[in-house]
Amino acid sequence: MSRLLNVDNLETKFRTADGHLPAVRKISFSVDKEETLCIVGESGCGKSITSLSIMGLLPSNGEITGGSIRLDDENLIGKSEEEMEQLRGNALSMIFQEPMTALNPVLTIGYQLREPLTIHKNMSKKEATKASIELLDKVGIPDSKEKLDQYPHELSGGMRQRVMIAMALACEPSLLVADEPTTALDVTIQAQILDLIHELQSDIGMGVIFVTHDMGVVADIADRVMVMYAGEVVEVADVESIFENPQHPYTKGLLESVPDVDDVSQELQVIKGSMPGLNDEISGCRFHLRCPFATEVCKHKEPPSFEVTPTHYSKCWLQEVNQSGQPDTIT
């Protein structure tokens, strides 16, 4: 079956004083139509860089050095800047973490909202204004007509994020990349924004890549979850399996470090140590330095991706032990 987005062996490197350092290390994943894939991981694990790689918006010192990104069977890598401009905002869109800084402070909401419509749909100003009012209604902004003439500073964070969503979805893209769009918002607003994204997703039938580090958000919105660590995908599974039956020690650590509001006596578990830097050379499994279950093999040999179930993969040597019928050591 052809998927909406197929990322294969993607490798993104950064030019630094220490040479070319990989931030994303040969990762592969895919997204279906109407599916939400959550990318989870600590800060610096490469999840934002993965989403920027897909958009072709890497900072000037970053470049994709290998692999392919196929959207509707079209390889995005190697496309010219003009071709990417045609696609961005049209076939694939992005919303950002910080609604406070993602809108231009000196231009009105209406002006910015008309941009995707005039760029991709060649609408006149009048048509675009009309379409913008509809868009604002769609994302649940009251008094949409008046809002068009307001400047971003006159709107609250939640409202601005709604405007961002309206801009991103103006041309009904088939793929939306959402880079922590709710992290900077209040919890109540967060829930509303998540509902809104979910609702619009089924309206348009788009696939969503949702980057977050909030496991609560993951449980709410994800169909499938991809856990990243130090530039690698360590575990991929449908959302139930991630929460019910996590396999990789890192995923378990992440889940254990989520506070439980109902349990007062709970002591938070932390994953010891910190994320390795881009230039740290680590032999074997990249997590073995922090892994409580690390064995001799982890130190020397990089684990392949083991199949737990057909929809659940874990990149950990413990799987080999499990699959060869020996007792499960981690549970």
């Binding site: 401009e85 961005r88 905002g89 049209n90 231009n104 402070p105 231009l107 760029i119 103006a170």
Partner: protein, 299 residues
């Protein structure tokens, strides 16, 4: 049609919004007493320049050899006449037209050149080095010397003065714009604009440039003062407007020979230059405070 009515209703509302921002700036500008004085002077100069045919009784080049070097307050010539009997008031008013036109044209051209160079240098790292080195080179010349050099190459005329002064305005403007671009282009809203497929050209002119307007307005106003002063200076030195043109600098040059018999021939255009330059400078100062609330030195 309802849709048309809607559209016009919207337009007027947009104007109201923009208006309210303008009102805010105007209010804060009017709090500054010096700026108010400057604004009044500029308004008077602009008024006399526009209505010059209606507020003068003689042409600026109309000679009357029977009434030369009349003193200030003479009958029919309240600013007196010069050594050819030409009405000083008419000549001063005509000089205002020239000064304002030369100032506007040279500052306008300088801004256009500076904005384009500044945007390119700030946005494209590859062009930055070349453009800014050229700008540094222009900066290395003392301004008036650079203008004289350009005029020496092009020949003496008012048009060449405009060209010289606009070239002289380019480096300052380019630096201001480049600085703004460097800080604005890193903002997330520029990345957000890229993510909806906006081209570089669109981002530069429609999304980055509006963020540079505040410093540019201030620069433009201050630059008007410099441009008017330099035009007069160049004309005084004989490099700009040539006699008998009623240009303030040229009038001073012609009048200084009669310093003892009729000092007003040199002093009146001198006062005109001083007032104009003063007015533009204080308004520029006031605008800077009004446009940037963080710069308020009184708080």
């Amino acid at each position: 049609m309802p849709s048309a009515a809607e559209a016009t209703g919207k337009n007027s509302e947009t104007e109201k919004k923009n208006h309210s921002r303008l009102v805010e700036i105007a209010k804060s500008l009017l709090k500054n007493k010096l700026s108010v004085i400057g604004l009044i002077i500029i308004a008077l100069i602009v008024f006399t320049a526009i209505f010059s045919p209606f507020i003068t009784s003689h042409g600026p080049y109309e000679q009357n050899l029977e009434s030369t070097e009349l003193a200030i307050g003479s009958e029919g010539h309240f600013l007196g006449t010069d050594n050819y009997g030409r009405d000083m008031w008419s000549r001063i008013v005509h000089g205002a037209v020239i000064s304002l036109l030369v100032g506007l044209c040279s500052v306008g051209l300088g801004l256009i050149g500076g904005i384009i160079l500044g945007l390119l240098a700030g946005y494209y790292r590859k062009l930055d080095g070349i453009i800014m080195r050229i700008v540094d080179l222009l900066f290395a010349f003392p301004g008036i010397l650079l203008a004289m050099l350009i005029i020496a190459m092009l020949g003496t005329s008012l048009v060449n003065v405009v060209i010289a002064i606009s070239i002289w305005s380019i480096p300052g403007c380019a630096r201001i714009v480049r600085g703004s671009v460097l800080s604005v282009k890193k903002q997330e809203y520029i990345l957000a604009m890229k993510s909806i497929g906006a081209s570089d050209w669109r981002i530069l002119f429609k999304h980055i440039l509006p963020n540079c307007t505040a410093p540019l307005i201030v620069f433009g106003t201050m630059r008007m003062a410099t441009a008017i002063l330099s035009t007069s200076a160049l004309s005084y030195l004989g490099l700009g407007a040539q006699p008998p043109t009623a240009e303030w600098g040229a009038m001073i040059a012609a009048g200084q020979d009669f310093m003892w018999e009729a000092p007003h021939l040199a002093i009146i255009p001198g006062i005109a230059i001083m007032l104009t330059v003063f007015a533009f400078n204080v308004v520029g100062d006031g605008l800077r405070d009004a446009l940037d609330p963080n710069m308020d030195l009184n708080n």
